[in-house]
Amino acid sequence: MSNRTVNINVHHVTRIEGHGNIVVNVTNGKIEKLQWQVPEAPRFFEAMVRGRSYEDIQTIVSRICGICSISHSLAATKAVENATGIQVSEQVDTIRLLMHYSEQLQSHVLHVGYLVAPDLFGLPSVVPLVAAAPGPVKTIIGLHRLANEWSALLAGRITHPVTLRPGGMTKIPTEKQLRELQDRLKKCLPDLKAVAEVVLSVAGNIPKFDRPTEYVALKEANSSRYAFYHGEIASTDQKDTVAINDWKTVANEYVSDQSTSKWAKWHRASYAVGALARFNINADLLSPTAKAVAQMFALKKGCCNPYFNSVAQIVEAVHVVETSIEMIDKLLTKGLKQETVAVSPKPGKASGAVEAPRGILFHEYEFDRKGNCMSADLCIPTTQNHANIQKDIEKLVPEILDEPEDKIRLKLEMLVRAYDPCVSCSTHMLDVKFVR
Protein backbone atom coordinates (compact mmCIF):
# COMPACT_ATOMS: atom_id res chain seq x y z
CA MET A 1 0.00 0.00 0.00
CA SER A 2 1.30 3.45 -0.84
CA ASN A 3 1.84 6.34 1.55
CA ARG A 4 -1.02 8.23 0.03
CA THR A 5 -3.39 10.62 1.70
CA VAL A 6 -6.95 10.32 0.45
CA ASN A 7 -9.93 12.20 1.77
CA ILE A 8 -13.28 11.45 0.23
CA ASN A 9 -16.44 12.78 1.68
CA VAL A 10 -19.40 12.16 -0.53
CA HIS A 11 -21.62 14.24 1.64
CA HIS A 12 -24.86 15.63 0.35
CA VAL A 13 -26.60 18.28 2.30
CA THR A 14 -30.10 19.06 1.18
CA ARG A 15 -32.88 20.52 3.22
CA ILE A 16 -34.99 17.51 3.94
CA GLU A 17 -34.05 14.42 2.05
CA GLY A 18 -31.55 12.08 3.63
CA HIS A 19 -28.61 10.60 1.81
CA GLY A 20 -25.99 8.13 2.77
CA ASN A 21 -22.54 9.65 3.17
CA ILE A 22 -19.36 7.87 2.20
CA VAL A 23 -16.39 9.00 4.29
CA VAL A 24 -12.84 7.87 3.52
CA ASN A 25 -9.90 9.33 5.45
CA VAL A 26 -6.49 7.91 4.66
CA THR A 27 -3.33 9.69 5.87
CA ASN A 28 0.10 8.63 4.64
CA GLY A 29 -1.30 5.27 3.60
CA LYS A 30 -2.90 4.70 7.00
CA ILE A 31 -6.66 4.23 6.99
CA GLU A 32 -8.21 6.40 9.67
CA LYS A 33 -11.87 6.31 8.79
CA LEU A 34 -13.99 4.32 6.33
CA GLN A 35 -17.65 4.88 6.93
CA TRP A 36 -21.03 4.46 5.35
CA GLN A 37 -23.11 6.97 7.28
CA VAL A 38 -26.86 6.84 6.97
CA PRO A 39 -28.73 9.76 8.43
CA GLU A 40 -32.31 8.54 8.32
CA ALA A 41 -34.71 5.69 7.76
CA PRO A 42 -38.46 5.64 7.37
CA ARG A 43 -39.21 4.14 10.80
CA PHE A 44 -41.53 6.94 11.82
CA PHE A 45 -44.31 5.56 9.65
CA GLU A 46 -44.87 2.88 12.25
CA ALA A 47 -46.48 5.44 14.54
CA MET A 48 -48.90 6.50 11.81
CA VAL A 49 -50.69 3.17 11.57
CA ARG A 50 -51.26 2.88 15.30
CA GLY A 51 -54.98 3.09 16.03
CA ARG A 52 -55.93 2.54 12.38
CA SER A 53 -58.22 -0.24 11.20
CA TYR A 54 -56.73 -3.45 9.79
CA GLU A 55 -58.51 -2.56 6.54
CA ASP A 56 -56.56 0.70 6.09
CA ILE A 57 -53.01 -0.40 6.81
CA GLN A 58 -51.96 -1.36 3.29
CA THR A 59 -53.18 1.97 1.88
CA ILE A 60 -51.20 4.01 4.41
CA VAL A 61 -47.96 2.05 4.11
CA SER A 62 -48.13 2.15 0.31
CA ARG A 63 -46.99 5.77 0.67
CA ILE A 64 -43.77 4.89 2.46
CA CYS A 65 -41.96 4.48 -0.82
CA GLY A 66 -42.69 5.51 -4.40
CA ILE A 67 -40.53 2.76 -5.88
CA CYS A 68 -41.62 -0.21 -3.80
CA SER A 69 -45.15 0.78 -2.84
CA ILE A 70 -46.59 -2.53 -4.08
CA SER A 71 -44.13 -4.47 -1.91
CA HIS A 72 -45.02 -2.46 1.18
CA SER A 73 -48.74 -2.91 0.52
CA LEU A 74 -48.35 -6.64 -0.07
CA ALA A 75 -46.18 -7.19 3.01
CA ALA A 76 -48.76 -5.32 5.09
CA THR A 77 -51.68 -7.23 3.58
CA LYS A 78 -49.96 -10.55 4.25
CA ALA A 79 -49.16 -9.54 7.83
CA VAL A 80 -52.72 -8.38 8.47
CA GLU A 81 -54.08 -11.64 7.04
CA ASN A 82 -51.66 -13.68 9.17
CA ALA A 83 -52.53 -11.72 12.29
CA THR A 84 -56.27 -11.97 11.81
CA GLY A 85 -56.36 -15.53 10.46
CA ILE A 86 -57.65 -14.67 6.96
CA GLN A 87 -57.02 -17.15 4.12
CA VAL A 88 -57.02 -16.02 0.49
CA SER A 89 -58.00 -17.99 -2.61
CA GLU A 90 -55.50 -19.31 -5.11
CA GLN A 91 -56.79 -16.80 -7.66
CA VAL A 92 -56.14 -13.87 -5.33
CA ASP A 93 -52.70 -15.24 -4.52
CA THR A 94 -51.81 -15.51 -8.22
CA ILE A 95 -53.09 -12.04 -9.10
CA ARG A 96 -51.13 -10.54 -6.21
CA LEU A 97 -48.00 -12.33 -7.31
CA LEU A 98 -48.48 -10.99 -10.84
CA MET A 99 -48.82 -7.52 -9.34
CA HIS A 100 -45.65 -8.07 -7.33
CA TYR A 101 -43.77 -9.14 -10.46
CA SER A 102 -44.79 -5.93 -12.22
CA GLU A 103 -43.00 -3.96 -9.52
CA GLN A 104 -39.87 -6.07 -9.85
CA LEU A 105 -39.76 -5.31 -13.57
CA GLN A 106 -40.49 -1.64 -13.01
CA SER A 107 -37.82 -1.22 -10.38
CA HIS A 108 -35.13 -3.39 -11.96
CA VAL A 109 -35.48 -1.76 -15.36
CA LEU A 110 -35.24 1.69 -13.79
CA HIS A 111 -32.32 0.75 -11.61
CA VAL A 112 -30.28 -0.78 -14.39
CA GLY A 113 -31.28 1.77 -17.01
CA TYR A 114 -31.21 5.01 -15.07
CA LEU A 115 -28.76 4.44 -12.23
CA VAL A 116 -26.27 1.76 -13.23
CA ALA A 117 -25.98 2.18 -17.01
CA PRO A 118 -24.57 5.74 -16.82
CA ASP A 119 -21.66 4.40 -14.70
CA LEU A 120 -20.97 1.60 -17.12
CA PHE A 121 -20.97 4.04 -20.03
CA GLY A 122 -18.71 6.42 -18.07
CA LEU A 123 -21.32 9.18 -17.82
CA PRO A 124 -22.29 11.23 -14.76
CA SER A 125 -26.04 10.58 -14.96
CA VAL A 126 -28.83 9.35 -17.19
CA VAL A 127 -29.33 12.79 -18.76
CA PRO A 128 -26.16 12.63 -20.94
CA LEU A 129 -26.87 8.95 -21.57
CA VAL A 130 -29.98 9.98 -23.47
CA ALA A 131 -27.74 11.73 -26.00
CA ALA A 132 -25.04 9.02 -26.01
CA ALA A 133 -27.34 6.02 -26.37
CA PRO A 134 -30.85 7.17 -27.28
CA GLY A 135 -31.89 3.76 -28.62
CA PRO A 136 -31.26 1.77 -25.44
CA VAL A 137 -32.73 4.56 -23.30
CA LYS A 138 -35.93 4.44 -25.38
CA THR A 139 -36.03 0.66 -24.97
CA ILE A 140 -35.74 1.11 -21.20
CA ILE A 141 -38.52 3.69 -21.24
CA GLY A 142 -40.70 1.32 -23.28
CA LEU A 143 -40.12 -1.46 -20.75
CA HIS A 144 -40.79 0.95 -17.92
CA ARG A 145 -44.06 1.95 -19.58
CA LEU A 146 -45.11 -1.68 -19.91
CA ALA A 147 -44.26 -2.37 -16.26
CA ASN A 148 -46.21 0.72 -15.21
CA GLU A 149 -49.28 -0.31 -17.18
CA TRP A 150 -48.98 -3.83 -15.82
CA SER A 151 -48.96 -2.42 -12.26
CA ALA A 152 -51.87 -0.10 -13.04
CA LEU A 153 -53.96 -2.98 -14.40
CA LEU A 154 -53.58 -5.04 -11.24
CA ALA A 155 -52.94 -2.47 -8.52
CA GLY A 156 -55.47 0.09 -9.75
CA ARG A 157 -52.80 2.67 -10.38
CA ILE A 158 -49.11 2.87 -11.17
CA THR A 159 -47.81 3.60 -7.69
CA HIS A 160 -49.53 3.28 -4.32
CA PRO A 161 -51.94 0.38 -5.05
CA VAL A 162 -55.64 0.64 -4.27
CA THR A 163 -56.98 -2.82 -5.16
CA LEU A 164 -55.58 -4.75 -2.19
CA ARG A 165 -57.70 -5.50 0.83
CA PRO A 166 -57.40 -8.08 3.57
CA GLY A 167 -58.88 -11.31 2.22
CA GLY A 168 -58.88 -10.41 -1.45
CA MET A 169 -58.91 -7.76 -4.12
CA THR A 170 -61.40 -4.96 -4.68
CA LYS A 171 -61.02 -5.31 -8.43
CA ILE A 172 -59.57 -7.97 -10.71
CA PRO A 173 -58.65 -7.64 -14.38
CA THR A 174 -60.81 -9.12 -17.14
CA GLU A 175 -59.69 -12.14 -19.16
CA LYS A 176 -59.32 -9.87 -22.19
CA GLN A 177 -57.06 -7.51 -20.27
CA LEU A 178 -54.93 -10.39 -19.07
CA ARG A 179 -54.62 -11.75 -22.62
CA GLU A 180 -53.52 -8.32 -23.86
CA LEU A 181 -50.99 -8.08 -21.05
CA GLN A 182 -49.68 -11.52 -21.91
CA ASP A 183 -49.22 -10.51 -25.56
CA ARG A 184 -47.23 -7.48 -24.52
CA LEU A 185 -45.10 -9.51 -22.13
CA LYS A 186 -44.26 -11.95 -24.92
CA LYS A 187 -43.30 -9.06 -27.19
CA CYS A 188 -41.08 -7.43 -24.56
CA LEU A 189 -38.77 -10.42 -24.06
CA PRO A 190 -36.61 -9.42 -27.07
CA ASP A 191 -36.36 -5.88 -25.63
CA LEU A 192 -35.16 -7.26 -22.31
CA LYS A 193 -32.58 -9.37 -24.11
CA ALA A 194 -31.49 -6.26 -26.02
CA VAL A 195 -30.97 -4.44 -22.71
CA ALA A 196 -28.96 -7.40 -21.45
CA GLU A 197 -26.79 -7.28 -24.62
CA VAL A 198 -26.14 -3.55 -24.20
CA VAL A 199 -25.14 -4.01 -20.55
CA LEU A 200 -22.97 -6.98 -21.53
CA SER A 201 -21.15 -4.78 -24.05
CA VAL A 202 -19.96 -2.55 -21.18
CA ALA A 203 -19.80 -5.24 -18.50
CA GLY A 204 -16.01 -4.91 -18.51
CA ASN A 205 -16.57 -1.71 -16.55
CA ILE A 206 -18.21 -3.55 -13.66
CA PRO A 207 -15.55 -3.36 -10.90
CA LYS A 208 -13.80 -6.58 -10.01
CA PHE A 209 -14.35 -7.11 -6.31
CA ASP A 210 -15.35 -10.10 -4.22
CA ARG A 211 -16.29 -10.29 -0.58
CA PRO A 212 -17.92 -13.46 0.70
CA THR A 213 -20.88 -12.59 2.90
CA GLU A 214 -24.16 -14.05 4.07
CA TYR A 215 -27.07 -13.76 1.63
CA VAL A 216 -30.64 -13.78 2.91
CA ALA A 217 -33.83 -14.19 0.87
CA LEU A 218 -37.15 -15.98 0.81
CA LYS A 219 -37.19 -19.64 -0.19
CA GLU A 220 -40.14 -21.96 -0.71
CA ALA A 221 -39.87 -25.50 0.60
CA ASN A 222 -40.60 -28.22 -1.96
CA SER A 223 -41.41 -25.74 -4.67
CA SER A 224 -40.16 -25.08 -8.16
CA ARG A 225 -40.83 -21.37 -7.71
CA TYR A 226 -38.07 -18.75 -7.45
CA ALA A 227 -39.35 -17.05 -4.31
CA PHE A 228 -40.48 -13.44 -4.37
CA TYR A 229 -43.67 -13.62 -2.37
CA HIS A 230 -44.02 -17.02 -0.69
CA GLY A 231 -41.86 -19.14 1.56
CA GLU A 232 -39.69 -18.67 4.61
CA ILE A 233 -36.42 -16.89 5.36
CA ALA A 234 -33.36 -18.64 3.96
CA SER A 235 -29.64 -17.94 4.32
CA THR A 236 -26.55 -19.07 2.47
CA ASP A 237 -25.08 -19.65 5.96
CA GLN A 238 -27.59 -22.17 7.28
CA LYS A 239 -29.55 -25.10 5.96
CA ASP A 240 -32.92 -24.62 7.64
CA THR A 241 -35.29 -21.82 6.84
CA VAL A 242 -36.80 -19.55 9.50
CA ALA A 243 -40.52 -18.80 9.85
CA ILE A 244 -41.56 -15.28 8.80
CA ASN A 245 -42.96 -14.53 12.27
CA ASP A 246 -39.44 -15.07 13.64
CA TRP A 247 -37.79 -12.46 11.38
CA LYS A 248 -36.42 -10.56 14.37
CA THR A 249 -34.09 -13.49 15.10
CA VAL A 250 -32.73 -12.93 11.59
CA ALA A 251 -32.47 -9.16 11.40
CA ASN A 252 -31.14 -8.68 14.96
CA GLU A 253 -31.41 -4.95 14.47
CA TYR A 254 -28.98 -2.79 16.37
CA VAL A 255 -27.95 0.83 16.64
CA SER A 256 -24.70 1.87 15.01
CA ASP A 257 -22.80 4.97 16.14
CA GLN A 258 -22.37 6.16 12.59
CA SER A 259 -26.05 6.12 11.68
CA THR A 260 -29.49 7.03 12.93
CA SER A 261 -30.91 4.17 10.91
CA LYS A 262 -30.85 0.73 12.53
CA TRP A 263 -28.45 -1.89 11.15
CA ALA A 264 -28.82 -5.66 10.95
CA LYS A 265 -26.70 -8.80 11.29
CA TRP A 266 -27.28 -12.52 11.54
CA HIS A 267 -24.53 -15.19 11.36
CA ARG A 268 -21.76 -12.75 10.42
CA ALA A 269 -21.01 -9.08 10.97
CA SER A 270 -23.36 -8.29 8.09
CA TYR A 271 -25.65 -9.85 5.52
CA ALA A 272 -26.96 -8.84 2.13
CA VAL A 273 -30.46 -8.87 0.67
CA GLY A 274 -31.65 -8.10 -2.85
CA ALA A 275 -31.46 -9.58 -6.32
CA LEU A 276 -28.02 -11.15 -5.84
CA ALA A 277 -29.13 -12.71 -2.53
CA ARG A 278 -32.22 -14.17 -4.19
CA PHE A 279 -30.10 -15.42 -7.07
CA ASN A 280 -27.59 -17.03 -4.72
CA ILE A 281 -30.39 -18.85 -2.92
CA ASN A 282 -32.81 -19.69 -5.73
CA ALA A 283 -30.87 -19.53 -9.03
CA ASP A 284 -31.70 -23.16 -9.94
CA LEU A 285 -35.36 -22.17 -10.13
CA LEU A 286 -35.02 -19.39 -12.70
CA SER A 287 -36.92 -19.54 -15.98
CA PRO A 288 -34.99 -20.87 -19.03
CA THR A 289 -34.34 -17.50 -20.64
CA ALA A 290 -33.35 -15.96 -17.30
CA LYS A 291 -30.81 -18.77 -16.85
CA ALA A 292 -29.48 -18.09 -20.36
CA VAL A 293 -29.06 -14.38 -19.53
CA ALA A 294 -27.19 -15.27 -16.32
CA GLN A 295 -24.89 -17.44 -18.42
CA MET A 296 -24.22 -14.57 -20.84
CA PHE A 297 -22.69 -12.70 -17.90
CA ALA A 298 -21.08 -15.84 -16.41
CA LEU A 299 -23.17 -15.12 -13.29
CA LYS A 300 -23.16 -18.22 -11.12
CA LYS A 301 -24.57 -19.17 -7.74
CA GLY A 302 -22.05 -18.16 -5.09
CA CYS A 303 -21.17 -14.85 -6.76
CA CYS A 304 -20.05 -12.43 -4.05
CA ASN A 305 -19.33 -9.34 -6.13
CA PRO A 306 -21.94 -6.83 -4.91
CA TYR A 307 -21.69 -4.90 -8.20
CA PHE A 308 -23.28 -7.94 -9.85
CA ASN A 309 -26.53 -7.17 -8.03
CA SER A 310 -27.48 -5.20 -11.15
CA VAL A 311 -26.79 -8.19 -13.40
CA ALA A 312 -28.96 -10.33 -11.12
CA GLN A 313 -31.67 -7.70 -11.56
CA ILE A 314 -31.55 -8.09 -15.35
CA VAL A 315 -31.81 -11.86 -14.90
CA GLU A 316 -34.79 -11.44 -12.58
CA ALA A 317 -36.49 -9.01 -14.95
CA VAL A 318 -36.44 -11.70 -17.62
CA HIS A 319 -37.59 -14.29 -15.10
CA VAL A 320 -40.65 -12.35 -13.91
CA VAL A 321 -41.78 -11.67 -17.47
CA GLU A 322 -41.34 -15.24 -18.63
CA THR A 323 -42.99 -16.65 -15.50
CA SER A 324 -45.91 -14.24 -15.73
CA ILE A 325 -46.66 -15.38 -19.27
CA GLU A 326 -47.15 -18.91 -17.88
CA MET A 327 -49.11 -17.72 -14.85
CA ILE A 328 -51.57 -15.85 -17.06
CA ASP A 329 -52.09 -19.03 -19.08
CA LYS A 330 -52.97 -20.91 -15.90
CA LEU A 331 -55.34 -18.19 -14.73
CA LEU A 332 -57.12 -18.12 -18.07
CA THR A 333 -57.37 -21.90 -18.29
CA LYS A 334 -59.09 -22.01 -14.92
CA GLY A 335 -61.25 -19.00 -15.76
CA LEU A 336 -61.55 -15.91 -13.57
CA LYS A 337 -64.17 -15.93 -10.84
CA GLN A 338 -65.68 -12.97 -9.05
CA GLU A 339 -65.03 -13.73 -5.42
CA THR A 340 -66.42 -12.08 -2.35
CA VAL A 341 -64.78 -12.46 0.99
CA ALA A 342 -66.41 -11.83 4.33
CA VAL A 343 -63.74 -10.75 6.75
CA SER A 344 -64.16 -9.99 10.41
CA PRO A 345 -61.48 -8.60 12.70
CA LYS A 346 -59.72 -10.80 15.20
CA PRO A 347 -57.08 -9.89 17.74
CA GLY A 348 -53.58 -11.07 16.99
CA LYS A 349 -50.00 -10.29 16.17
CA ALA A 350 -48.14 -11.54 13.12
CA SER A 351 -45.71 -10.69 10.35
CA GLY A 352 -45.70 -10.66 6.59
CA ALA A 353 -42.72 -10.74 4.27
CA VAL A 354 -42.16 -10.25 0.57
CA GLU A 355 -39.08 -9.77 -1.56
CA ALA A 356 -39.16 -6.08 -2.42
CA PRO A 357 -36.98 -5.33 -5.47
CA ARG A 358 -34.15 -4.34 -3.08
CA GLY A 359 -34.54 -7.38 -0.85
CA ILE A 360 -36.60 -9.03 1.81
CA LEU A 361 -39.08 -6.74 3.54
CA PHE A 362 -40.72 -7.48 6.89
CA HIS A 363 -43.89 -5.95 8.34
CA GLU A 364 -45.30 -6.88 11.74
CA TYR A 365 -48.56 -5.69 13.28
CA GLU A 366 -50.63 -6.32 16.35
CA PHE A 367 -54.40 -5.80 16.36
CA ASP A 368 -56.96 -5.55 19.14
CA ARG A 369 -60.41 -7.21 19.14
CA LYS A 370 -61.89 -4.48 16.95
CA GLY A 371 -59.11 -4.87 14.40
CA ASN A 372 -57.39 -1.63 15.34
CA CYS A 373 -53.62 -1.59 15.06
CA MET A 374 -51.83 -1.49 18.41
CA SER A 375 -48.27 -1.65 17.18
CA ALA A 376 -46.24 -1.93 14.01
CA ASP A 377 -42.66 -2.83 13.21
CA LEU A 378 -41.23 -2.53 9.71
CA CYS A 379 -37.81 -3.67 8.61
CA ILE A 380 -36.85 -2.56 5.11
CA PRO A 381 -34.17 -4.12 2.86
CA THR A 382 -31.96 -1.04 3.05
CA THR A 383 -31.70 -1.37 6.85
CA GLN A 384 -30.54 -4.93 6.35
CA ASN A 385 -27.93 -3.92 3.77
CA HIS A 386 -26.26 -1.04 5.65
CA ALA A 387 -23.76 -3.15 7.59
CA ASN A 388 -22.96 -5.05 4.40
CA ILE A 389 -22.21 -1.82 2.53
CA GLN A 390 -19.92 -0.81 5.41
CA LYS A 391 -18.06 -4.14 5.29
CA ASP A 392 -17.73 -3.89 1.50
CA ILE A 393 -16.19 -0.42 1.85
CA GLU A 394 -13.75 -1.69 4.49
CA LYS A 395 -12.49 -4.41 2.15
CA LEU A 396 -12.67 -2.42 -1.09
CA VAL A 397 -10.77 0.73 -0.13
CA PRO A 398 -7.44 -0.92 0.78
CA GLU A 399 -7.61 -2.90 -2.50
CA ILE A 400 -7.99 0.22 -4.66
CA LEU A 401 -5.98 2.72 -2.66
CA ASP A 402 -3.37 3.08 -5.40
CA GLU A 403 -5.94 4.24 -7.93
CA PRO A 404 -6.64 7.93 -8.64
CA GLU A 405 -8.93 9.55 -6.06
CA ASP A 406 -11.74 10.13 -8.55
CA LYS A 407 -11.71 6.42 -9.45
CA ILE A 408 -11.85 5.42 -5.78
CA ARG A 409 -14.75 7.77 -5.32
CA LEU A 410 -16.56 6.44 -8.39
CA LYS A 411 -16.15 2.81 -7.33
CA LEU A 412 -17.53 3.65 -3.87
CA GLU A 413 -20.47 5.49 -5.36
CA MET A 414 -21.12 2.62 -7.77
CA LEU A 415 -21.03 0.23 -4.84
CA VAL A 416 -23.74 2.17 -3.03
CA ARG A 417 -25.75 2.50 -6.22
CA ALA A 418 -25.60 -1.29 -6.69
CA TYR A 419 -27.63 -1.62 -3.48
CA ASP A 420 -29.91 1.30 -4.43
CA PRO A 421 -30.52 2.22 -0.81
CA CYS A 422 -33.86 3.69 0.11
CA VAL A 423 -32.77 6.64 2.22
CA SER A 424 -34.81 9.46 0.80
CA CYS A 425 -37.92 8.03 -0.72
CA SER A 426 -40.58 9.63 1.38
CA THR A 427 -40.34 13.16 0.02
CA HIS A 428 -39.80 14.48 -3.47
CA MET A 429 -40.70 18.14 -3.22
CA LEU A 430 -39.45 20.86 -5.51
CA ASP A 431 -36.76 23.29 -4.43
CA VAL A 432 -36.52 26.08 -6.96
CA LYS A 433 -35.37 29.63 -7.46
CA PHE A 434 -37.05 31.88 -9.96
CA VAL A 435 -34.78 33.02 -12.76
CA ARG A 436 -37.29 34.90 -14.88
Binding site: H12, M48, I60, Y114, V127, T159, L430, V432
Partner: protein
Protein backbone atom coordinates in the same frame (compact mmCIF):
# COMPACT_ATOMS: atom_id res chain seq x y z
CA UNK B 1 -55.84 6.93 -26.50
CA UNK B 2 -54.47 9.17 -23.76
CA UNK B 3 -56.43 12.27 -22.82
CA UNK B 4 -54.67 15.36 -24.19
CA UNK B 5 -54.24 17.02 -20.81
CA UNK B 6 -52.91 15.44 -17.64
CA UNK B 7 -52.98 16.92 -14.14
CA UNK B 8 -50.48 15.29 -11.81
CA UNK B 9 -50.73 15.71 -8.06
CA UNK B 10 -47.33 14.93 -6.56
CA UNK B 11 -46.20 14.28 -3.01
CA UNK B 12 -46.59 12.19 0.08
CA UNK B 13 -49.65 12.59 2.32
CA UNK B 14 -47.71 10.96 5.21
CA UNK B 15 -45.36 13.95 5.30
CA UNK B 16 -47.72 16.82 6.19
CA UNK B 17 -47.63 19.61 3.56
CA UNK B 18 -45.45 17.49 1.26
CA UNK B 19 -48.71 15.77 0.30
CA UNK B 20 -50.41 18.91 -1.00
CA UNK B 21 -50.38 17.75 -4.63
CA UNK B 22 -52.17 14.54 -3.70
CA UNK B 23 -54.84 16.37 -1.65
CA UNK B 24 -55.43 18.87 -4.43
CA UNK B 25 -55.83 16.16 -7.06
CA UNK B 26 -58.27 14.29 -4.82
CA UNK B 27 -60.39 17.44 -4.70
CA UNK B 28 -60.02 18.03 -8.43
CA UNK B 29 -61.29 14.51 -9.11
CA UNK B 30 -64.67 15.66 -7.79
CA UNK B 31 -64.92 17.94 -10.84
CA UNK B 32 -63.48 15.39 -13.28
CA UNK B 33 -66.78 14.89 -15.15
CA UNK B 34 -66.71 18.54 -16.24
CA UNK B 35 -63.29 18.06 -17.84
CA UNK B 36 -63.57 15.10 -20.22
CA UNK B 37 -60.28 15.94 -21.94
CA UNK B 38 -58.34 15.99 -18.68
CA UNK B 39 -56.93 13.06 -16.76
CA UNK B 40 -56.34 13.67 -13.05
CA UNK B 41 -53.63 11.50 -11.53
CA UNK B 42 -52.52 10.98 -7.93
CA UNK B 43 -48.89 10.39 -8.86
CA UNK B 44 -47.64 10.21 -5.27
CA UNK B 45 -43.88 9.86 -5.08
CA UNK B 46 -43.60 7.78 -8.23
CA UNK B 47 -40.59 9.78 -9.44
CA UNK B 48 -39.52 8.69 -12.89
CA UNK B 49 -42.98 7.30 -13.64
CA UNK B 50 -43.82 10.90 -14.48
CA UNK B 51 -41.92 10.43 -17.74
CA UNK B 52 -44.52 7.96 -18.83
CA UNK B 53 -47.49 9.87 -17.43
CA UNK B 54 -46.79 13.00 -19.46
CA UNK B 55 -45.86 11.25 -22.69
CA UNK B 56 -48.15 11.85 -25.70
CA UNK B 57 -50.03 14.66 -23.99
CA UNK B 58 -50.57 18.16 -25.28
CA UNK B 59 -50.36 19.70 -21.85
CA UNK B 60 -49.23 18.64 -18.40
CA UNK B 61 -50.14 20.47 -15.20
CA UNK B 62 -48.17 19.44 -12.12
CA UNK B 63 -48.99 20.36 -8.55
CA UNK B 64 -46.28 19.91 -5.97
CA UNK B 65 -44.99 21.16 -2.68
CA UNK B 66 -42.19 23.61 -3.44
CA UNK B 67 -39.60 25.56 -1.51
CA UNK B 68 -39.73 28.95 -3.25
CA UNK B 69 -38.73 31.35 -0.44
CA UNK B 70 -42.36 32.45 -0.13
CA UNK B 71 -44.60 32.61 2.94
CA UNK B 72 -46.16 29.20 3.78
CA UNK B 73 -49.32 28.54 1.80
CA UNK B 74 -48.30 30.69 -1.16
CA UNK B 75 -49.15 29.18 -4.53
CA UNK B 76 -47.21 30.15 -7.65
CA UNK B 77 -47.87 29.20 -11.24
CA UNK B 78 -44.75 28.84 -13.35
CA UNK B 79 -43.25 27.08 -16.35
CA UNK B 80 -40.03 25.03 -16.26
CA UNK B 81 -38.18 27.88 -18.02
CA UNK B 82 -38.90 30.27 -15.19
CA UNK B 83 -37.04 28.35 -12.49
CA UNK B 84 -33.77 26.66 -11.68
CA UNK B 85 -33.64 23.67 -9.39
CA UNK B 86 -31.61 24.03 -6.22
CA UNK B 87 -31.80 20.35 -5.42
CA UNK B 88 -28.58 18.44 -5.05
CA UNK B 89 -28.92 14.79 -5.95
CA UNK B 90 -26.51 12.19 -4.68
CA UNK B 91 -27.32 9.86 -7.60
CA UNK B 92 -27.12 7.06 -5.08
CA UNK B 93 -30.56 5.73 -5.47
CA UNK B 94 -33.70 5.74 -7.57
CA UNK B 95 -35.46 7.00 -4.50
CA UNK B 96 -34.27 10.51 -5.09
CA UNK B 97 -36.07 12.53 -7.67
CA UNK B 98 -36.03 16.05 -8.97
CA UNK B 99 -39.09 16.95 -10.99
CA UNK B 100 -37.19 19.61 -12.93
CA UNK B 101 -34.65 17.03 -14.12
CA UNK B 102 -37.38 14.61 -15.07
CA UNK B 103 -39.00 17.33 -17.19
CA UNK B 104 -35.63 18.12 -18.81
CA UNK B 105 -35.15 14.47 -19.61
CA UNK B 106 -38.62 14.11 -21.12
CA UNK B 107 -37.84 17.09 -23.36
CA UNK B 108 -34.51 15.63 -24.41
CA UNK B 109 -36.25 12.40 -25.34
CA UNK B 110 -38.84 14.32 -27.35
CA UNK B 111 -41.58 12.94 -25.10
CA UNK B 112 -42.59 16.06 -23.26
CA UNK B 113 -45.91 17.83 -23.87
CA UNK B 114 -45.76 21.18 -25.71
CA UNK B 115 -47.01 22.90 -22.63
CA UNK B 116 -45.93 22.20 -19.05
CA UNK B 117 -47.31 24.27 -16.20
CA UNK B 118 -46.35 23.84 -12.56
CA UNK B 119 -48.18 24.98 -9.48
CA UNK B 120 -45.78 25.17 -6.55
CA UNK B 121 -47.20 25.49 -3.07
CA UNK B 122 -44.87 26.63 -0.29
CA UNK B 123 -45.15 24.25 2.69
CA UNK B 124 -45.31 25.25 6.32
CA UNK B 125 -44.11 21.89 7.60
CA UNK B 126 -42.62 18.80 5.98
CA UNK B 127 -42.35 16.07 8.59
CA UNK B 128 -43.95 12.72 9.35
CA UNK B 129 -47.59 13.61 9.95
CA UNK B 130 -50.85 12.56 8.33
CA UNK B 131 -52.68 15.54 6.90
CA UNK B 132 -51.90 19.10 5.88
CA UNK B 133 -51.23 22.03 8.19
CA UNK B 134 -54.11 24.44 8.74
CA UNK B 135 -52.22 27.05 6.74
CA UNK B 136 -52.47 25.02 3.54
CA UNK B 137 -55.77 23.34 4.36
CA UNK B 138 -57.39 26.76 4.75
CA UNK B 139 -56.35 27.76 1.24
CA UNK B 140 -57.28 24.62 -0.69
CA UNK B 141 -60.30 26.28 -2.35
CA UNK B 142 -58.04 29.01 -3.66
CA UNK B 143 -55.64 26.42 -5.11
CA UNK B 144 -58.49 24.48 -6.72
CA UNK B 145 -60.01 27.52 -8.39
CA UNK B 146 -56.61 28.59 -9.73
CA UNK B 147 -55.97 25.17 -11.24
CA UNK B 148 -59.49 24.86 -12.66
CA UNK B 149 -59.00 28.28 -14.20
CA UNK B 150 -55.84 26.93 -15.84
CA UNK B 151 -57.78 23.98 -17.24
CA UNK B 152 -60.60 26.16 -18.47
CA UNK B 153 -58.34 28.29 -20.62
Amino acid sequence: MEKPVVVLGLGNPLMADEGIGVYVVERLLESAAEYPAVEFVDAGTGGLSILYQIEERRKAVMIDCAFMDEPPGTIRRFTPEEVESRKVLAHQSLHEADLMRIIAMARQLGQAPDEIVLFGIQPERVEPQLGLTQTLMGRIDEYISMILHELGT
